[in-house]
């Protein structure tokens, strides 16, 4: 499709750029324009996990802190607390003990293998996933969509998201999280950064929680340290 046209456009745009930047004599970007920034550092904070919890609550999401053994129960509690009493979709790689607990609570578990259709996802009450990293300063959870988090659509279409974050995954600042998830990016995984539930401020700049993404976010923080 428009291959010939494209290559002309490409050559012309690159030529325009070169003409526009004839004043740049040092062709090495790094020596020509140094960047004074140390990447991947954190912020000094006394209680990283506590700060994370506080900031997530600030987005009007729910957060509970539990011991490792209590995670299956906490996941079920989260489903019930958000009103997901019929069904939950889970990624194929989710911890089997959580799946077992959900089933035992009488909630139908829909494993996304084979993949559920858009309509099936839309008719599912909730999604349960793990996470890859979390940022205390901004109250952000980062998904890399590996086996225990699943493809992007499953944590988007259902109206409730129960997300399990291990305390050891929580870092102080954005830069540290960037470095933590970078290997996944190099492997081709997409990233979804979630800070509270879906929200909008488009009407008179007053914040409304819940538009297209899950309207309820329920975070289980596991004290594994």
């Amino acid at each position: 499709m428009s291959t010939i046209q494209d290559s002309t456009a490409r050559a012309e745009i690159l030529a325009r750029i070169r003409r526009a930047t004839t004043d740049v004599t040092d062709k090495n970007p790094e020596t020509d324009t140094p960047i004074n920034w140390t990447y991947g550092t954190g912020i000094d904070m006394e209680d990283v996990v506590g700060t994370f919890v506080e900031k997530v609550i600030d987005y009007s999401a729910t957060v509970v802190r539990v011991k490792k053994a209590d995670v299956p129960k906490a996941v079920v509690d989260g489903l019930k607390a958000t009103g997901a009493d019929k069904s939950a979709v889970v990624p194929p790689g989710l911890d089997p003990s959580w799946i077992k607990a959900i089933k035992a609570a009488g909630i139908e578990v829909r494993i996304d293998d084979p993949q559920l259709s858009h309509t099936e996802l839309d008719n599912t009450d909730a999604v349960v996933t793990a996470a890859s990293s979390a940022v205390a300063d901004t109250g952000t959870i980062v998904l890399t969509h590996v086996a225990d988090q699943g493809r992007r659509a499953i944590s988007l279409v259902p109206d409730r998201h129960i997300c399990v974050v291990r305390a050891s995954q929580v870092v102080s600042d954005v830069g540290e999280a960037m470095q933590a998830v970078k290997p996944a990016v190099h492997e081709g995984h997409p990233l979804t950064w979630i800070s509270g539930g879906s929200a909008t401020s488009d009407i008179e700049l007053s914040r409304v929680d819940g538009v297209h993404g899950p309207r309820q976010l329920y975070v289980v923080v596991v004290d594994d340290q």
Partner: protein, 515 residues
Amino acid sequence: MTTTGTELRRITEGNHGVARLTPAPDAPGTFLGMPKFPKAVKKELELSVQRKNMRNATTTIRNKRALRVSESPDWEDLRDAATAIKNRVARHLDYYLEEAEKNLQANGVHVHWARDGEEANRIVAEIAKAKGVDEVVKIKSITTQETDLNEYLEEENIACWETDLAELIVQLGHDRPSHIVVPAIHRNRAEVREIFLREMKNYGRPAPTDVTSNPPELANAARLHLREKFLRAKMAVSGGNFVCADTGSLVIVESEGNGRMCLTLPETLVSLVGIEKIIPKFDDLEVFLKLLPRSATGERMNPYNSVWSGVTEGNDGPQEQHIIFMDNGRTDVLADKIGREVLRCIRCASCINVCPVYERAGGHAYGSVYPGPIGITLTPQLRGVDDPVDRAMPYACSLCAACNEVCPVKIPFTDIILHLRNRVADAEKAEKISKDPEVAVEKVLMKTAGWIFGDAKRFEAVQLGTRGAGKLLHGKPLGPIPVPVADRWLRYRDVDALPTDTFRSWWKKNREDGK
């Protein structure tokens, strides 16, 4: 939740008698042909509801931003780093575009290049036709507003649905965006309710008949209206906040989840990005993810960020992806050594939110999808200064410089504005005409002032004159006076009362000789 669903159909109601797939913007076509700022602003200033909406909204967002910025201890270091990163890209743009292209292609993305908006629109339409779709869902994108993509696709019989709440309000309201982050900033909740009730039923799932003007209810009406469009869409169009050259990744920063819907559910994704949106490394995102949300919406982090590196295995998201690198005047900006600094812009709108001219005039008067300080510095550079609308833009500014202080990438707006005023003056001089009588009069006045200030004796002589006039007027402020030249100038300016004494003689009487 989804019922049987509605179908795509043509609607004449509200569309100037034309049967259309999507609502027609009330000002047909583009912004071209509209009056220049000084004329357009008069109409806007009379809209008292809009002025109130604007004042409320900009005050709220300014305060939120200030609070979140105060929480960030290394804010100035971040600004410097972001400035350097974007400078590096602009100065070596050919290198980084080629690197981005190589890595995007390695990730399975089709890379296209567009010299102008027309070419970009054509590529999008060609892809849509090749896929056989008659509708696309769109993530909020100012770049596609710049090219007027929606209207182009409508002409090609393809419906383009805005999915951002504010853009939906604008589209259903037959309106134009008036802000780059909050495009419906000029509308209040009662107006939104009225638009939803009147228009949604024509273009898809109707708004609930009992919907009130409570924002959560209005947001829910949008959720229901758009959900069927998301679930059935086969193709999406996005812009892009950043493109990481080293990993070939695209980044979308958003709030509502409409972006995630568009990036995840359709089979085909086309992203239209300006060539200046590249950043060298994935690592550089760190700096921008710390600056952008706090600057734009006054949040520590916006609700959702999506980063994806081309086609994801395992049928996760669109399996056919295209990116269009668009110039559309950007290389002209790059060629201007003073003006090019505006290419650092990350579209946060903090300059717009602090601008006293914008707060009063609103976004429609400018005649560009980019209003406020960023608009008047970027638009005349992208489009050139041939048109009266573009020539008027650099003058829609009081040079208060509040924008310089808040800009996360330290764009020196006022320097660029003065530079552009020079360009406009030079262009007019070259044409040997001064089309604008106000500007011509001002030029004469400025020249005269220069002559007076150039010599102490002349200055003192004039001071004696103004002192006399001040005494005559008894300290009354100077209103519109029926003097042929001065009345044009005074029509737009309030001038303080003339002093009855000069500063020099006041100083002599009160301060000199140790008094």
